[in-house]
């Protein structure tokens, strides 16, 4: 028998706020254990939480971007359970009325665009982290993470394959990164994913027994774990047995899932409204204010890059992976109308030198103005594409302009106006046809003439001056 696969995902996104959700401790990752703590986030007696409103801003932002209904009255709840990394013995979260509900996220699948429902998005606090010593005798607790703000994003069980789940996850992560509310780092745990999986005979409408899958800390592991668990479900059913409702853990080294707890062993969280916090009222003015700050969504931008700049889907996809890279691209295009050429340079050389991730593009020494000036040199024939790679590397290292680099490497610039004028006249006479086209309105040919002059001078001509002189002659 053939089976349909049903997957729903629960994502926990750590928010990029400077301080924690209920105190003013920093949220920095990787600091010395227990240095970013205070009486609030370690649950001392008599201490009370005070909500960081920024978390609501971020939640509303994501809610708008995923077309959710934003709750007007927001009530926090306590989720009660004992664990050493949970300082208060309860987690402050939202239960009955989450901040956002009934939204969706569109993804591109092989069968075209598909809408994945977003059940809810709610605000909550993260727990601390247990660290076990190697011999296993002792455990330590690092409370730096306790109280770091999270958004939990729960999807509808709308995904029908591992690939769809993977695409949804990537799309959601890109959205979070675009909105600048989460850095999307799965390895560091700032973007975590649990999955609910079930299978059912092809074509049937009921849901099979589901298992929950945890501990998948990379896209690769999500893919492997889901594939494994789906196969396990199908094998169980094919052998005539039944799937047990339980929580499974993915074991990366074992390359298999194993049972963590069954339904009977599951916690009774005894949720009730958090009496230490007052309800947060979100009015239309608040939502409107956040709406104004929303950037263009990645999916729309991708489409615009394809249609507006005539870029191939592949280019548009890569350039829009990060808002910073997409912004860089558009800054370049505004200076030089050669989208494809710019795209090629960004996809290869620019991304190559960004060792610490795409956010580094902001600190890149090669500004859009410098990159486009360099491309102009190539277009003008002053330097070859191959030479340009060396020039680019030097720009990235030193921050010098391409013109400067070209000059310094022995190519003395010609800035004598009279000399350049004579050269220009000769070139224009040699290219009567092009001159004719120029005069008919094909003004971008200016680059060609400048290039010819550059070629004639082996790149020594002062490009700006040359540009100006040729323009003057043509327009006489």
């Amino acid at each position: 028998m053939e089976y349909d696969v049903i997957i729903g995902l629960e994502v926990h996104a750590q928010l990029l706020t400077e301080t924690k959700i209920f105190c003013s401790c920093p949220t920095t990752f990787g600091d010395e254990p227990n240095t970013n703590t205070c009486p609030v986030c370690i649950g001392m007696p008599g201490i009370l939480p005070v909500l960081n409103k920024k978390i609501v801003d971020f939640g509303i932002k994501l809610g708008i971007a995923t077309h959710c209904k934003i709750a007007k009255t927001n009530i926090f709840a306590r989720k009660n359970y004992f664990y050493p990394d949970l300082p208060k013995g309860y987690q402050i979260t939202q239960y009955e009325s989450p901040l956002c509900e009934h939204g969706f996220l569109d993804i591109d699948t092989t069968g075209g665009s598909k809408r994945i429902g977003i059940t809810r998005i709610h605000m909550e606090e993260d727990a601390g982290k247990l660290i076990h010593d190697l011999k296993g005798h002792r455990s330590f607790i690092d409370f730096n993470r306790a109280g770091v703000p999270l958004l939990e994003i729960v999807s509808e069980p709308d995904m029908r394959s591992t690939d769809e789940a993977d695409t949804y996850l990537r799309e959601l992560r890109q959205l979070l990164v675009y909105l600048e509310i989460c850095d999307g780092n799965m390895e560091q745990g700032s973007f975590r994913c649990d999955a609910n999986i079930s299978v059912r005979p092809k074509g049937s409408t009921f849901f099979g027994v589901r298992t929950e899958l945890k501990n998948m800390n990379s896209f690769r592991n999500v893919h492997r774990a889901l594939s494994y668990e789906i196969k396990r479900h199908i094998d169980v059913l094919r052998s005539g047995r039944e799937v047990t409702q339980q929580t499974m853990l993915w074991g990366e080294t074992a390359n298999a899932t194993r049972s963590m707890r069954t339904k009977e062993e599951s916690h009774d969280y005894r949720y009730f409204p958090e009496p230490d916090l007052v309800p947060v009222m979100v009015d239309n003015a608040w939502i409107g204010k956040i709406r104004k700050t929303l950037p263009e969504m990645p999916r729309e931008r991708r489409k615009r890059f394809e249609e507006g700049y005539g870029l191939p889907g592949y280019d548009a996809d890569i350039l829009t992976q990060s808002r910073d890279v997409a912004d860089y691209f558009e800054d370049c295009v505004s200076l030089l109308d050669s989208p494809k050429e710019i795209s090629n340079w960004i996809m290869t050389e620019v991304l190559r030198v960004l060792k610490g991730g795409t956010a580094d593009i902001k600190a890149l020494k090669v500004t859009p103005r410098m990159l486009t000036s360099m491309i102009r040199l190539i277009d003008g024939g002053a330097i070859s594409g191959k030479m340009a790679k060396d020039v680019f590397n030097e720009m990235a290292e030193t921050g010098k302009s391409s013109e400067e680099i070209v000059k310094d490497s022995g190519l003395k610039q010609i800035s004598d106006e009279g000399h350049l004028k004579n050269l220009a006249k000769t070139i224009l006479e040699d290219h009567k046809k092009e001159v004719g086209s120029y005069k008919k309105g094909k003004t971008q040919l200016i680059g060609f003439f400048v290039g010819q002059l550059m070629k004639a001078t082996k790149g020594k001509a002062n490009p700006e001056l040359t540009n100006k002189i040729i323009k003057e002659i043509l327009e006489e």
Binding site: P49, N80, D268
Partner: protein
């Protein structure tokens, strides 16, 4: 307290003199009123206050010895909540109210005895044993702020802070013949108050007279951004002139004078109401149909919140940790078994049950709905009256261990005090008479939220016309 402040300024006595006298009396205290006494800190604060007394003429708290209930945190002073689980706990922070008192130059004498985690109405559940009533050492001072009440009544401090979740300020105030205010929920910051039931807990002042209570209330009230439930209204100082009772409408609920009310309390309270009538107040019979559910609602909401609030005492980070457990679960169980007393355990069990899957709707949710009905009862009642008046407790102080084996009967004695915690409104207990054995009797006044001025004004007027609050108990330091 105001008398003391006056005497400081007249040079009749210095803050250090009175502090030393009090410290000496505490050394021979038969009441077991204090858990921790800070002799050095108190003397230092008294000396400092003495130097400022001439400069700060308008600060009635300067140099005044006050006691703090042991569930209110003071930096570098043990805060035990009368529990084994916190017997070693020393906070690194001051409660908001303590910070305010320190700034004003009050002399903090120490931490007073209480029922463990404020759960009880006798101080019997304290891990250091019960406190005693200075009017009769065989009687309970009430609770849970019994140590504070006994200390104030016996002169072991000039005034004290208590906390009130279901009557824990007013009941001991009435048993010990002093004045105590449960302020409006949100008017006094709970920051630094070790939580019992967060939606009901409120810190409040206890002192010898309504004027003193008003002064201490003014010192601790106010908005605090560290407590999200703190309410930011423009707080004005309470007038100490008393309230003109002419035309003031006093609502007398039938339900407060029904079965279970002892005859001596009934008579004293009726006499007290008569005093107000003499002064021109109008007496109106009112109906509070849902307060008969008050005790039931309270013991669901309070225990549910407590079961969660006390989860943090797990032996992991601070306080008691029992050694020798094989694994984490055993460590939790051993620690909590040893650390909590029987009443705390009982309430954690009750609250856990009330919140558990399948029972939440039936208990916690239903209780929350009935709580709303009680609130509506009071809203309607305050349409026709300005103050609701009645007894604070159904009986005067009872024998030290009379109720030790009967928690349910003890719970039922809270029926008059609980409604103000459910509604969040303010309530004041003032002395209004004595039994023929000489035990004090208290009368309770309730007003709409943030109308403490009316309550305190009425209390001041009453005390200007009566002398119950001036009588001293059999055992007192003077």
């Amino acid at each position: 307290m105001l008398d003391l402040a006056r005497n400081f300024r007249m040079g009749n006595i210095s803050p250090l003199d009175i502090t030393e006298k009090i410290l000496e009396a505490i050394r021979h205290d038969p009441l077991n009123a204090y858990i921790t006494v800070d002799e050095t800190g108190a003397k230092n604060a008294a000396k400092k206050a003495g130097e400022k007394i001439r400069k700060e003429n308008n600060n009635p708290l300067l140099g005044v010895p006050v006691a703090i209930k042991d569930n209110i945190c003071i930096k570098q002073m043990a805060t035990t909540c009368a529990s084994n689980i916190l017997s070693s706990f020393v906070p690194t922070y001051d409660a908001h109210v303590v910070e305010k008192l320190k700034k004003m130059g009050a002399v903090i004498v120490g931490k007073t005895n209480m029922d463990e985690f404020a759960m009880g109405s006798t101080t019997n559940t304290s891990n250091i044993g019960t406190s005693k009533n200075p009017w009769d050492l065989g009687k309970t001072p009430g609770g849970s702020s019994g140590g504070s009440a006994a200390a104030v009544a016996a002169g072991l401090c000039a005034a004290a802070l208590g906390s009130d979740t279901g009557g824990s300020i007013r009941q001991p105030a009435s048993f010990c013949g002093i004045t105590g205010l449960k302020p409006t929920y949100g008017s006094v910051s709970r920051f630094g108050l070790v939580a019992f039931a967060s939606s009901l807990d409120q810190i409040g002042p206890m002192a010898g007279s309504a004027r003193d209570v008003a002064v201490l209330y003014d010192a601790i009230k106010g908005y605090d951004p560290k407590d999200s439930t703190s309410v930011d209204i423009g707080y004005l100082p309470t007038t100490l002139d008393g309230l003109d009772m002419q035309g003031v409408r006093l609502g007398v609920p039938k339900a407060f004078f029904g079965e279970g009310l002892s005859t001596n309390v009934k008579k004293a309270v009726k006499d007290g109401i008569a005093v107000f009538k003499e002064l021109g107040a109008k007496i109106i019979a009112i109906d509070l149909p849902n307060i008969k559910y008050g005790v039931a609602v309270y013991y669901i909401v309070a225990t549910a919140e407590a079961s969660s609030n006390l989860a943090r005492y797990d032996g992991v980070r601070y306080g008691l940790r029992e050694k020798g457990a094989d694994d984490l679960i055993d460590m939790y169980m051993d620690t909590r078994a040893k650390g909590f007393g029987i009443e705390v355990k009982r309430r954690i069990m009750l609250g856990t049950y009330a919140l558990s899957a399948g029972y939440y709707d039936q208990y916690y949710k239903k209780a929350s709905k009935v709580r709303t009905l009680v609130i509506e009862d009071f809203v309607k009642a305050f349409d026709v009256c300005d103050i609701i008046i009645g007894p604070t407790t159904p009986t005067p102080a009872f024998g030290l261990y009379d109720m030790a084996d009967d928690p349910l009967s003890l719970y039922l004695l809270d029926l008059y005090t609980i409604p103000a915690n459910l509604t969040g409104g303010p309530a004041l207990s003032i002395p209004c008479g004595f039994t023929k054995e000489g035990l004090p009797i208290g009368m309770q006044l309730m007003a709409p939220a943030f109308k403490e001025d009316i309550l305190l004004g009425a209390g001041i007027t009453f005390q200007d016309h009566t002398g119950f609050h001036e009588k001293r108990p059999q055992w007192n330091m003077m």
